[in-house]
Symmetry: C2
């Protein structure tokens, strides 16, 4: 499980690093970024995992997420993994589309060939990466939370709903709240999991809540000028599922904001403060 | 002087725009970005110009500069121009090097052929762009300041030293303080201005101070882990010139920081607060 340092840069009173390792779950080399604020020797800091959206790697949030200042002030380690396995031999969308395959792992364990060999992003994010972070960084793995954007918001919500004891807080920017009920989700889950929609329910935040999963709280920010709001994201489905299940949800519609990192960076510090209180 | 909107995104309680226009100074289309915080109708806000470094366009600081939160809080318009003319017919470095020609205009009015036709970045930044900003944005052009990074730090310092009545504040991240005394400067000024080093002095912050130019104050942050510190940037030359001329200078050596936007973004809010007090 050796870790190779790709780069480190001093930033905001801490260290922004990019690392890679040979993942046993995906069978590929995986790259991720970690920001560690300066801290007393021997201290262990709480950890926020950030899951990115379609087409992204760790680099998008690392460069444009504006999380470092808040993480330094709040004493949070910030971990940003990639969105899929990559490299030679990793199958992609048949037509190279952006919403399936490379950059679009949807945080599932694929069961359909040929994706079932490398596309194990669920186990990678839920198990392998946390173990690595706990072993290699000054991280208090009893104080962990998770957040994400779009496909990564879907990832954060579903992973937290399946592991409520593990994550002290969960939040999302413009998440895909129900892959069962949007074109992105239908395409991806058909490709990774097959046609049996029953098998999709553990990868659908609304279905998980309907099926009994609960979290203490959920925070979601959603821009009203998001191009994907009506066709793909449908936050009203999450609001309805939470209301029906008495699941606490703070859903904030942000007037005029779109789906970009201009939106994410605007509310990143807010989310990190919300996480810090719960960590 | 018509202005075309390339994009606008809502961000941090304001509008981040990218615009382009046909520049009469450069004879090319020029692109720049402007962040305008929300404000009362009819209000005029002070303006900070940010000049970028070698290889950059407006996009680097717009995406990675982390200036919007502070600008929104402080009520500052933030303008980021390009670093050179671009487009068909604009001559580049003979070997396509990164440190001359495209992306490397050095904020001079070139006098040497073939660069004298389009490379008029001094007049573009000092005159044409401020006029455009004043005409097209809710800007109080009596409250203007300037800052920059590396080559853009050189630009900010020299432009402010030549126009002390115009800029209420000036600061720089890792500036080229003396093109007369570093390889980047010697190459660029030879190419744009010719071999007569006397003609370079108005484009050299240290020489301008030696020749009598003065500013109320100068703020410079410089990382100690900057690869270009000893060979190109040489902040000690600025410290010596300021000391000899009784020019106020705050030079902060920032331990462990490099030349990247990880460094710039770490101290951007500091600089903007320093500017806001003086605007």
């Amino acid at each position: 499980m050796g870790l190779e340092t790709v780069s480190t840069n001093r930033a905001h009173g801490g260290t922004q690093g990019v690392y890679k390792h040979a993942s046993s779950e995906t069978g590929t080399e995986m790259e991720f970024s970690v920001f560690v604020p300066d801290h007393e020797e021997g201290a262990k800091l709480p950890v926020v995992f950030y899951l990115s959206g379609l087409t992204c790697s760790q680099a998008n949030v690392t460069e444009k997420g504006e999380f470092r200042r808040a993480c330094a002030e709040l004493g949070l380690i910030f971990v940003a993994p990639d969105t899929s396995p990559r490299g030679e031999g990793v199958p992609d969308d048949a037509e190279g589309a952006y919403d399936f395959g490379l950059g679009a792992g949807f945080y599932v364990n694929a069961t359909e060939a040929p994706f079932d060999r490398h596309y194990k992003m669920r186990d990678y994010i839920e198990r392998e990466l946390p173990d690595l972070i706990g072993a290699e960084f000054p991280a208090d793995m009893d104080r962990v939370s998770i957040m994400g954007h779009s496909m990564g918001g879907h990832g954060a919500l579903t992973i937290a709903l399946r592991n409520p004891e593990r994550y002290k807080a969960v939040s999302a920017f413009a998440p895909i709240v129900s892959p069962l009920n949007c074109p992105w989700g239908e395409k991806a889950l058909t490709g990774y999991l097959g046609a049996d929609r029953g098998a999709w329910r553990e990868y659908d935040a609304c279905a998980l809540i309907e099926d009994g999963a609960r979290l203490p709280e959920i925070l979601v920010d959603q821009g009203t000028a998001d191009n994907f709001l009506e066709g793909q994201l449908k936050p009203e489905l999450l609001a309805e599922a939470c209301a029906a299940a008495d699941q606490s949800l703070t859903l904030r519609m942000q007037e005029g904001y779109d789906h970009s990192y201009f939106f994410i960076s605007s509310f990143m510090a807010d989310h990190l403060e919300w996480h810090a209180v719960r960590l």
